[in-house]
C-alpha cells in the first residue's frame, strides 16, 4: 500500500480531508469530461437538410392514381411541361391506399400538408377534404394523365428510404439508426424511394416498384438504409422518376 491509512476511505466514516479534495477534483473532471465528451460525439454529424411540413393545409385538384402507390396527377402547365405527380400518404406511418382505392382514376380534391425537402414533395392527406370527388372538376375535365415514359435500363447507387420520413417527417429520416422506422413506414404503405446522392446538388429521388411496376412487397425491407446498388428499368410518370426492379437486383455496397 502506497497511501497512508489516514487516506483510507470508509463509507460510514467522515472522509479524510485530503481525500475529499481529491474526490472533488475527480468529480468535477468526470462531469466536465462527460459533458465535453457528449458534445464531442456530436461534432461532424451530417446535415439532415431542411425537410419538413411546409406551406400549411391546401387542397389540390387532380386525377388520382392508386397504383403502384397513391398519387395525384396534375395537368401540365408552363412550369411543369410534363405535368406534376404528387405522392400521397396518410398521417403516421401509413399509406393512403385505403382512401385512394375507391377514387382510382377519378378527378378528386385532395387536402393536406406538403412534406418537402430540396424540391421533392409528398402530400400528407388530411384536413377537411382528405380525398373526395372534386367539387369543381370542370377546369381539368378531359385531362388524361400521360402513360409512363420508359427511359431505359440503369444501375444506380444510393439509399432506399421511406419517402415520408426522408422528406422531413423525421429529421434525420434516413440512415441505419432510422432503419426500423423506415421499415415500419414501408410496411404501413408509405412509398419507398431510392435516394441517389450527388456531390454538390440535391439527391435524385426515384420511386421504387417491383418489376411489374406494382407496389413492392416485404422483400425490399432487408435493403432499407445501407448503401445499395440497384439495377432496373427507369420510367418517368409526369415529373416523377420511377425505377422498376426486384430484390434480386439490389445488392449492398
Amino acid at each position: 500500500m502506497s497511501r497512508s491509512s489516514n487516506e483510507f476511505f470508509v463509507g460510514y466514516l467522515k472522509t479524510p480531508p485530503k481525500l475529499a479534495v481529491f474526490l472533488t477534483v475527480v468529480s468535477v473532471l468526470l462531469v466536465g469530461l462527460g459533458i465535453g465528451g457528449g458534445f464531442a460525439l456530436l461534432a461532424g454529424q451530417p446535415d439532415y437538410g431542411d425537410g419538413g411540413f411546409k406551406g400549411g393545409y391546401k387542397e389540390h385538384l387532380g386525377v388520382l392514381q392508386a397504383a403502384p402507390y397513391p398519387m395525384l396527377r396534375l395537368p401540365p402547365d408552363e412550369a411543369h411541361p410534363d405535368g406534376r405527380t404528387i405522392l400521397l400518404s396518410n398521417p403516421g406511418k401509413r399509406g393512403a391506399q385505403k382512401r385512394a382505392a375507391k377514387h382510382d382514376g377519378q378527378i378528386v380534391d385532395v387536402g393536406g400538408v406538403f412534406i418537402t425537402r430540396e424540391g421533392t414533395r409528398l402530400l400528407q392527406v388530411g384536413g377537411a377534404a382528405k380525398i373526395r370527388p372534386a367539387k369543381e372538376p370542370e377546369s381539368i375535365q378531359g385531362f388524361v394523365p400521360a402513360a409512363d415514359v420508359p427511359l431505359g435500363p440503369v444501375t444506380l447507387r444510393g439509399e432506399i428510404v421511406d419517402t415520408k420520413c426522408y422528406l422531413g417527417a423525421m429529421r434525420p429520416g434516413e440512415g441505419k439508426v432510422h432503419r426500423a422506422c423506415a421499415n415500419l413506414c414501408l410496411m404501413g404503405g408509405i412509398p419507398p424511394m431510392l435516394a441517389v446522392f450527388h456531390e454538390n446538388e440535391a439527391p435524385t429521388l426515384l420511386l421504387l416498384t417491383n418489376a411489374a411496376g406494382e407496389a413492392f412487397d416485404a422483400e425490399i425491407l432487408d435493403y432499407v438504409a445501407p448503401y445499395v446498388s440497384v439495377e432496373g428499368e427507369l420510367f418517368r410518370r409526369g415529373d416523377l422518376l420511377m425505377l422498376r426492379t426486384d430484390a434480386s437486383r439490389i445488392g449492398f455496397l
Binding site: R3, F8, V31, L42, P91, V177, H178, G188, P226, F252
Partner: protein, 351 residues
C-alpha cells in the same frame, strides 16, 4: 454494514455521491437538449431524436465511467470512494438507458401498423446481414442486463443468491458493455461517419480495456506461492515478516486458486480469506480499524483472529492457519470454515 434490510442505508457519503451523480446526469441532459442542436450541422433535428441521442450518449458515457472505477480503485486506492456506492451508479445508468429506449420506441416504433413493442422486434430482422443487422436487438439485450443488475442490486439479493453467484450475475455488465459497443457500431456508426463518433467510441473501449489490463498485470506481479507439503497441511510461503505493513494487508495467491489476506496488527499476524462476505471485496487492500480488518469497498469489518464481524453483525469469512519459519510466515492453503478461531502468530518487538 447492517443487521436488517432497508431500502437504502444512507450515510453522508452516499448522499454526497448520489447528489454529484444526479447533478452530473441532469447537467448533461439539460445542456445537451439546450445546446446540442447548435452544434449539429443541421440544427433542425427532431425533438424526440435529440432526446434519444441525449439519453443514449449519457448512458454510454456513464457505463464507460462505471466500468473504469473498479480497475482505477485497484491501481490507486484514492478512487475507492467512487466504488463505494457504485450500485446507485448502476441503477442510474439503467434509468438513463431506459429513457433512451422509451424515447426510441415512442418515436421510431410509434404511429405505425404494429404495436410499438412488436415493432421493436419485427421491423428490422436481417440478422444475417452485417449492413442491415438489427442493432436494436443488442440494445434490448444490454437493457435487459442493466435491468437485471439494477433489480438485484440490493443487499437482499446479495444474501439470497450468495456473494459468488451475485458477483457472477453482476459481471454480466461486461456483456452489456460489449452489446452496447455493438449497438453503436452497427447503429449510429453505420449511419454517420463522423471521426469524432468513431474516435470517442474507440477511446471508451481503449480506456476500459487498458485499465482492466493494467489492474490485471499488477495482480499478476505476485506469483503463486510455492508448496511445502507435509503431513500437517498444505503449507506454502506467505510473506517475509519484514514485508508486512503495519495495520495493512498483504495478498497471498494460494495454489488452490484462492487468495488469502495477511494482516499485521498489535504485534500479531492473522490470515483471512481475501474475499469479503459482502461483495467479495479484496480484504487485503483494506486496513485495520478499531482492531478489525476493514473492507476497502464498503467498510465491512472482521476480527482478524476468527474472521467474524463484531456483534451485532453476523458476517463471517474463512480463516487460515499460519506457521513461522525463521523470518518468514507459511500459510496452510486449506481454508478453515468461516469464523474458525485461529491463534495469531505473535511477533517479537522490532520484528
Amino acid at each position: 454494514m447492517s443487521v436488517q434490510y432497508r431500502p437504502v442505508t444512507w450515510t453522508r457519503n452516499k448522499i454526497t455521491y448520489d447528489l454529484v451523480l444526479g447533478f452530473g446526469i441532469a447537467a448533461f441532459i439539460i445542456l445537451f437538449l439546450r445546446y446540442a442542436p447548435g452544434w449539429l450541422e443541421s440544427s433542425r433535428i427532431s425533438g424526440p431524436q435529440l432526446r434519444m441521442r441525449a439519453f443514449g450518449t449519457c448512458a454510454f458515457l456513464l457505463l464507460t465511467i462505471v466500468l473504469s472505477i473498479g480497475p482505477l480503485a485497484r491501481l490507486d486506492i484514492r478512487f475507492l470512494p467512487l466504488l463505494y456506492n457504485r450500485r446507485h451508479f448502476g441503477v442510474a445508468i439503467f434509468f438513463v438507458a431506459l429513457a433512451h429506449a422509451l424515447a426510441v420506441t415512442g418515436w421510431y416504433q410509434a404511429f405505425g401498423p404494429l404495436d410499438r413493442y412488436v415493432a421493436l422486434l419485427a421491423s428490422s430482422t436481417a440478422v444475417t446481414s452485417w449492413q442491415a443487422f438489427p442493432f436494436e436487438y443488442l440494445g434490448i439485450f444490454a437493457l435487459g442486463i442493466l435491468f437485471t443488475l439494477a433489480a438485484t442490486s440490493h443487499d437482499f439479493w446479495l444474501t439470497f443468491l450468495g456473494a459468488p453467484l451475485w458477483k457472477a450475475i453482476h459481471m454480466s455488465v461486461y456483456a452489456a458493455y460489449a452489446a452496447i459497443i455493438g449497438h453503436i457500431a452497427l447503429g449510429v456508426l453505420q449511419a454517420e461517419h463522423s471521426p469524432w463518433l468513431l474516435g470517442l467510441t474507440g477511446v471508451s473501449v481503449g480506456l476500459v480495456s487498458a485499465l482492466h489490463i493494467a489492474a490485471g498485470l499488477r495482480e499478476q506481479e505476485t506469483s503463486v506461492a510455492p508448496s511445502i507439503n507435509d503431513s500437517e497441511g498444505h503449507w506454502v510461503h506467505a510473506a517475509y515478516i519484514g514485508d508486512l505493513p503495519d495495520e495493512g494487508g498483504v495478498t497471498v495467491f494460494l495454489p488452490t486458486g484462492e487468495k488469502a489476506a495477511l494482516f499485521r496488527y498489535d504485534g500479531k499476524v492473522s490470515a483471512l480469506s481475501n474475499a469479503c462476505a459482502h461483495q467479495n471485496g479484496p480484504l487485503a487492500e483494506g486496513r485495520i480499524i478499531d482492531g478489525c480488518v476493514t473492507c476497502p469497498w464498503h467498510g465491512y469489518q472482521y476480527r482478524p483472529e476468527d474472521g467474524c464481524s463484531p456483534a451485532p453483525f453476523t458476517e463471517k469469512v474463512a480463516t487460515y492457519r499460519l506457521r513461522r519459519d525463521g523470518n518468514r510466515l507459511l500459510i496452510d492453503a486449506n481454508a478453515l470454515p468461516p469464523g474458525t478461531p485461529v491463534p495469531p502468530i505473535e511477533l517479537e518487538q522490532g520484528a
